[in-house]
Symmetry: C2
Subunit: 386 residues, 2 copies
């Protein structure tokens, strides 16, 4: 198996991008990545296009439309879907493509246009709810705020996690989002604001939930030979984990953990030959604040049940034990579902190169991304090293 590095990354600003179509966003991210890698479109040998749901674009098989707009026909392309972990899955496959020796340079691109004129938030939430089990659960009404509220209630009951601790995750992520020019929300919030915000699904309030965003992000991967030739700062992908959990919550044993995360982390740490304590900076999947707290634990950054304490002690700020989501996370940077994993990779690559500006984690050598699809039906963990 060959070593594989990320040699270029690009992303749009995340937000409600009313003036940009799916493929225009994809092109914008692709262009930045090409310039970052100092490559031309002709150098790309294989493409993996991540898009979560056909529905959002009204285009069945939307990856083909993106591919055409990038000007990359007739090269290989496959559309990859792993719910909100789609572009992490695409990066995994681009890695496989290069590691196997089939190609030397592969593109993994994620994009999603969730907001569309005339589409209400309620419609989007209801549609996304069908990422839960439609056979036995979805018909009774739950959507994702409800699913994650079940996790939060269980975590509070089992481990004494508090609403204040949940809100502290939001405060941290808005704090860093305010420093990220590509973030959907670029303003700080106070604990009081978070705790006074409207209730969405008890115990999750408005500021416990990530926004509905549009955007694109991508990464160009290359084999060791090529990477060393074209890049002074290749970022190596040294560990990959992919775990899954049942789509039906009634088939799970514990609602205070994501089994797919535990499995994916185990695989990735083993492959990279590192321990959780070796990770210098991480992007984890904080679609809801409780998700970040569960991630701390399931990824081994603290013991099970101590995630609330970890944020309360500010150990996941820069300067703490393990800085997490210093790009603002899904919570403030935004969550255009198909693009989210590649945007995590974007941040970790910038961090490991020392190019993260005001948000730079000093001397970061090992980074981790943790990207969850739905309520854990797909989970990708990648480990990176400079």
């Amino acid at each position: 198996m060959r070593r594989v590095a990320v040699v270029g990354v690009g992303m749009t600003k995340f937000g409600v991008l009313a003036d940009k179509s799916l493929r225009e966003m994809a092109f914008e991210a692709f262009k930045e990545a090409l310039e970052d890698a100092n490559l031309a479109p002709k150098d790309i040998e294989s493409v993996y296009t991540a898009i979560n749901a056909d529905h959002f674009s009204s285009q069945v098989s939307p990856g083909a439309s993106v591919m055409e707009y990038l000007g990359l026909n007739p090269k290989p392309n496959i559309r990859i879907e792993a719910a909100c972990a789609s572009s992490s899955a695409a990066i995994r496959l681009a890695w496989l493509d290069v590691a196997s020796g089939l190609h030397d340079i592969a593109l993994a691109l994620g994009v999603e246009k969730m907001n569309e004129a005339g589409r209400t938030t309620a419609e989007i939430i209801q549609f996304m709810g069908t990422g839960g089990d439609i056979t036995w659960e979805n018909h009774y009404g739950p959507t994702f705020p409800g699913f994650y509220a079940i996790f939060a209630i269980n975590h509070m009951h089992k481990y004494g996690t508090t609403k204040e601790q949940l809100a502290m995750v939001a405060v941290k992520n808005h704090y860093y989002g305010a420093m990220n020019p590509k973030a959907h929300f670029q303003r700080e919030i106070t604990l009081e604001q978070a705790l006074k915000s409207p209730m969405i699904s008890y115990p999750l309030q408005l500021y416990d939930c990530c926004p509905i965003s549009d955007g694109a992000a991508c990464a160009i991967l290359a084999s060791e030979d090529v990477a060393k030739k074209i890049s002074d700062t290749p970022i190596w992908i040294t560990g990959l984990g992919l775990g899954t959990s049942s789509v039906a919550l009634h088939n799970r044993e514990d609602y205070a953990t994501i089994p797919g995360t535990v499995e994916a982390a185990k695989q990735a740490y083993k492959m990279a030959r590192v321990e959780p304590r070796d990770v210098d900076v991480a992007c984890v999947h904080d679609c809801f604040t409780i998700a970040e707290i569960m991630a701390y634990e399931d990824l081994g950054f603290c013991k099970k049940g101590e995630g609330g304490k970890l944020i309360e002690e500010k150990q996941t700020y820069i300067g703490g034990k393990i800085p997490v989501n210093v790009d603002g996370g899904l919570k403030a940077k935004g969550h255009p579902t198909g693009a989210t994993g590649a945007a995590m990779t974007y941040e970790i690559v910038k961090q490991l190169r020392g190019e993260a500006g005001k948000r730079q984690v000093p001397n970061a050598e090992i980074g981790l991304t943790h990207n969850v699809g739905a309520h854990g039906t797909y989970v990708c963990v990648h480990i990176y090293r400079r």
Copy 2:
């Protein structure tokens, strides 16, 4: 790169399977493949689930639901989409997974439930039409019979292909479908019947079009070491090609060819180090009869423009120059879009093992599958060897 073989295949009967859900069909195909490979679920290390459209199942991220029903959580799974070539793309990725050394045994499973109570054929056709370019073309009304009618008209104009030759493809594929207990249509038709059938989109009549089917098919792939240990008849995947064409027809230069097929074939023949004349048996993508004639040419089974002559001379029957779609093809075997590529693999594996019964191509050593997504936006060509 390690050698990779197919060690087990399974598929449901194709047809209107009103009494089976998406995941029940998937399980039925999976069970047959496990038994065929003499493996247990615990032996599967990685899964690629191919499903064309979320819409058909109403379940966003439907691969997760299938995975749960197969009992394979928390193992790796990714849902793969390349329009009607989705499960060929899944097989390509399962191949990469094993070839790279990441896993030893991987499952590629395709499934689609297109027919649903209360859903009309017109609704299905119209929905599938959005696999064409929704930005500039789809709004003006074309659906896939129309797209392929454009190809047929151009082919007739440019090369003198006749309506009779188109109908001869249907007659051949129904002839073989009648011998295939898993086919959607198991009855022969005459040339007269085909030519008297209702006009759908000139020059394509009813019998020029494949049916709308439900079904599942899958293949289990293994590394050389494992394959030799567990199988007496491993079928090696020796060539893989993946080409793409613009989704907008107005961006193509020639309507009598599929550029993605030409590209995919070039890649696959080169990798397998064979020529078109070396292929003993092929499954090609005959969603419409003109598609099979274009495939003959684009795959190099005859010169460009001579596809009509090839079928007229019965060279694609068993005993001819190159037997094509002796399982009935999409035309008679059926076309549950996500499952179609894996069902082609099913047939080729059976043929190369000598297990195809009445439809056996004598002494078949090298097989080929050609699976087209949409009107060529994705094209997979795989080459197999016993």
